[in-house]
Amino acid sequence: MGKRIGLEVSLSAAEAVKMANVDCIAAYPITPQTHIVEHLSELVNNGELDAEFIPVESEHSAMSVSAGVSAVGARAFTCTSSQGLALMNEIVHIVASMRLPIVMILANRSMSGPISIWNDHTDVMSIRDCGWIQVFANNGQEVFDNVLFAYRVAESQKVMLPLIVNIDGFILTHVIEPVEFWEKEQVERYLPDFKPVYTMHPDRPVTMGGVGMPYVFSEAKVAQDEPLIQSKTEIITAWKELGDIVGRYYKPIETYRIEDAETLFVTQGSFGETVSLVVDALRDEGESVGLVMDRLWRPFPFDEFREATSQAKNLIVIDRAISYGGQGGPLAIDIRSALYKGENQPNITNFICGLAGRDVTINDFKNIYHKAMEKVKENPREEDFEYYGVRGK
């Protein structure tokens, strides 16, 4: 068993990146990601991590540099938040199409404007369709474990796709949590060396990034989506093996007290831990409620989600992001689509809350629960969504 210490989650993340023996770190500072890259540069400059720390001049270059690193067969790491993610947007799409297994930690933060340094999921939702594998980590230990998982899955021969680990900015990045480090030999057992299919090297010249002529573009896109869809198998295997090594098992959909629950909360990110306490409190009051936490966002785990919600009459979907002019938050929209014409058709209520890191307390979630119950009583097929806790007349 590795040493267990209380450490700021950002620093744990950096330590995990170090244990993963990355080759290059290319990052540009942005709140609230800064502590991660600061610690990494310390590790490099103190000789504790043998890697190149490349202080790029913008996030766009952070992802571009990472593309170059990955293309020559080296292990690349980068890290950013909202505005930085938006700036590197075009490259995010491109590296997925080029199947470069870059790992990025996204310290979730509001997309401007107004400018906000605090946490919500509007940034990760802006790249929902970019082709990366996307997972959520909900506490310090999960961040540590999932960085190693990230390289293991991203670089797997059957996958070879870039991967994002989402961690809530400030709410996770800047808090101290107990984390159990891995032993070196555990990492060696779990994470093999990076062996790309093709690399940039004069001994075997290849051309990467050719022009997608119309007669071949669609084929290239299917060739990109299929591995993402199929990657779920490898993801589940990798999480199982992780559990076999360190005793912590992760699943695409985590559930809490869903047995004979009439109503289920659905959350992503650090909300899950808070809502699990709410579930306990409500059950003590006699409510029939449980919790489904979505850990794997892309590829979306349809089977697991449908199974977890198969007995529920009502879903309360908590979104920390907005789809302006759309039918609610992005999570709710995806979920409605996932359940459409399925065997079980629960009532789906959707609450958008916690934007810009606004606190959503246990009482707030209890209010949300009662509001949801009112809604389904009045209008069972209510498809409306609500911005929770917004002051207005």
């Binding site: 010249p205 290849v206 051309t207 007669y215 071949v216 669609s218």
Partner: protein, 97 residues
């Protein structure tokens, strides 16, 4: 022969749409573009290599005797070789239909 257009199935694309046959553009007949072609008068040719070095398409090659000829598979008929030849040994001639 590189598979193209009607033939290439999505499963046949290399990972990341990487192209793994270096220089396979040489299968493409850019010579179809031209309407005039260079004709060299070897009596005037001093074998200097000017035409060869200035061809953007690497379509001029050195023969065994050291003279230079246009590779009509690639030659686009731009006329640079004829213009640059120091002894005016090259003439651009209309392609017949």
């Amino acid at each position: 022969m590189t598979k193209t257009r009607q033939d290439l199935a999505w499963q046949e694309l290399e990972i990341g749409a990487t192209l793994i046959t270096p220089g396979n553009s040489e299968e493409y007949k850019s010579g179809d573009w031209r309407s005039i072609r260079p004709v060299v008068d070897n009596k005037k040719c001093i074998k200097c290599g000017t035409c060869y070095i200035f061809c953007p398409d690497a379509a001029i090659y050195e023969t065994e005797e050291g003279f230079f000829e246009a590779n009509l598979y690639y030659c686009k008929g731009c006329g640079i070789c004829a213009t640059e030849c120091p002894t005016q040994a090259i003439e651009m001639v209309e392609e017949e239909e």
